[in-house]
């Protein structure tokens, strides 16, 4: 789920941006930009016991807040990835990881691609 988390602080100092790479079809809705930098509040890659970790869902929550036109094309209103949208974390499909709960490593790169659906 991509619900907005109260712990997110996009302007928090010392955090590493997550790079969200967009396909051309989505770049058109953000003035041609192919890369969005998003900074979740929790430190990416942190694994300390009890520490908050940033997940894919956290990044998508930021996307929802800052770029709703991109978000609604990537996720439906239940918060799930759309059926024919794939999201790769450093080259791996998040569906093959922990989905929305996948914890982000430091300097994560998320790549949005549409699948080869249709005829």
């Amino acid at each position: 789920m991509c619900s907005v988390s109260a712990q997110l602080r996009p302007d928090a100092p010392g955090r590493t941006d997550v790079e969200l790479l967009l396909p051309a079809a989505l770049a058109d809705v953000v003035d041609g930009r192919r890369l969005l930098s998003l900074r979740p509040g929790a430190e990416p890659g942190r694994r300390d016991a009890g520490a908050a970790e940033s997940t894919v869902a956290d990044v998508l929550a930021l996307l929802q807040a800052d770029y709703p036109g991109v978000y609604r094309r990537v996720c439906d209103e239940t918060g799930n990835l759309r059926r024919y949208v794939n999201l790769y974390l450093d080259g791996e499909d998040i569906r093959d990881l922990d989905g929305m709960s996948t914890v982000l490593p430091d300097r994560a790169e998320l790549l949005v691609l549409q699948s080869i659906a249709g005829g």
Binding site: L26, D28, V29, G69, R72, E77, T78
Partner: protein, 377 residues
């Protein structure tokens, strides 16, 4: 509002004062085309808009000034939204937030917008949307933002409604021009009516057969394909059913067969003349097991006596065509004489400038036509 990417320059409607040019919007499985004509016989075609995007619903909202064109657009990748053009297709805007979205507590997500229906001139900002999964939404701001009609979503019958072949949808929304009633048709759930603008709903299917169910005349569950309202009597409705063609003279309280005189009682289309009482059109298809023009001979059937009798018209139509016409792939304009338009799943679009008596080809070789809407501009 987002600007919408285009594959090629937008259509440029023929210049002219209101009523001089006709604009025909053609929604297909893969994109939107716009055709313009000054005589409804010779057409200029431009498109596609919205490449790789399904356009199953269109509406011209002509209640004030330049008609607003609303398009229910659906990408297999990027989801569904309402796109709006206030300049007859030259430019398009989509709200940044989805125009139609299910509230979180429903756990549902919008699949497809089957119907966009501007309300009467007395309710200038109100637009209704019939959607999949089965639901109705209402906008108060001309189609930029819609709210779920909770009365229908929470209806106790909802869990028992089925899915038509095209998906579980409220495909027809008919707000009354004369009172607070609204009719909705559902495949497969039947006809429902609200008398309080959507607050509460009851099934109105008495007399409509459901020959695919053990009980042939259930309270609900019928697969009604399209409902249209008579121009002269708001209580008179016409329905093309999944097997059966009907008329009701009491707002859906009782339905009577008007299928006699038609070559088949299956089909999707039902059109009513916008100003002339008792004039209607349908486009029959073979039985539910065929779903093509009977014997491959497409024709439009017109009645001028509210379904008491029917007359066949096929001038200008192909002698051999096995492509169906879907429920919203037909429209009637408000000119005099009225124009009739329809598109096929084979991608051909036809127009009639003489109330359906003869047709000319508007376009061919398009993707499956899902929706056509015409307006004088």
């Amino acid at each position: 509002m987002d600007a919408v990417p285009k594959a090629m320059p937008a259509a440029e409607p023929a210049a002219g004062r209101h009523g001089v040019a006709t604009v025909l919007a053609i929604g297909t499985r893969k994109g939107l085309w716009l055709a313009t004509s000054s005589d409804r016989r010779n057409w200029e075609l431009r498109g596609p808009e919205f490449p790789m995007t399904e356009v199953p619903s269109l509406a011209f909202d002509a209640r004030s000034g330049t008609p607003r064109l609303l398009a229910g657009v659906r990408s297999e990748w990027w989801g569904t939204n309402v796109a709006i053009s206030d300049d007859l297709g030259r430019t398009w805007q989509e709200p940044e937030q989805a125009a139609i979205a299910f509230p979180e507590d429903t756990g549902a997500s919008l699949e497809r917008i089957w119907q966009l229906a501007p309300d009467s001139t007395d309710r200038p900002g109100v637009v209704w949307a019939g959607c999949e999964p089965i639901s109705v939404f209402r906008s108060e701001d001309g189609g930029k933002h819609f709210e779920l009609v909770r009365g229908l979503w929470d209806h106790p019958h909802r869990t028992q409604w089925g899915a038509g072949y095209g998906g579980p949808a409220a495909h027809t929304v008919l707000p009354s021009p004369s009172d607070d009633s609204v009719h909705v048709a559902i495949s497969s759930g039947g006809v429902y009516r609200s008398d309080d603008r959507g607050g509460t709903w009851d099934a109105f299917n008495s007399g409509i057969i459901a020959d695919f169910m053990p009980e042939k005349y259930p309270e609900f569950g019928q697969c009604v394909h399209k409902v249209a309202r008579d121009a002269g009597n708001p209580q008179r409705l016409y329905a093309q059913n999944h097997g059966g063609v009907y008329r009701s003279d009491d707002g859906g309280g009782q339905w009577l067969s008007i299928a006699d005189g038609l070559p088949a009682d299956f089909g999707f289309v039902m059109l009513a003349h916008p100003t002339r009482p008792d004039m209607i059109w349908t486009i029959p298809l073979g039985s539910a097991g065929e779903r093509n023009p009977p014997q491959g001979r497409p024709a439009v059937y017109r009645s001028v006596d509210a379904g008491g009798s029917w007359e066949r018209f096929d001038a200008g139509l192909p002698a051999y065509d096995f492509n169906a016409v879907l429920r919203d792939a037909a429209d009637v304009d408000d000119a005099d004489p009225a124009g009739i338009y329809f598109g096929t799943r084979g991608g051909e679009v036809y127009a009639s400038a003489d109330e359906g008596e003869s047709f000319t080809l508007v376009a061919a070789n398009l993707p499956d036509v899902l929706c056509v809407r015409a307006v004088a501009a």
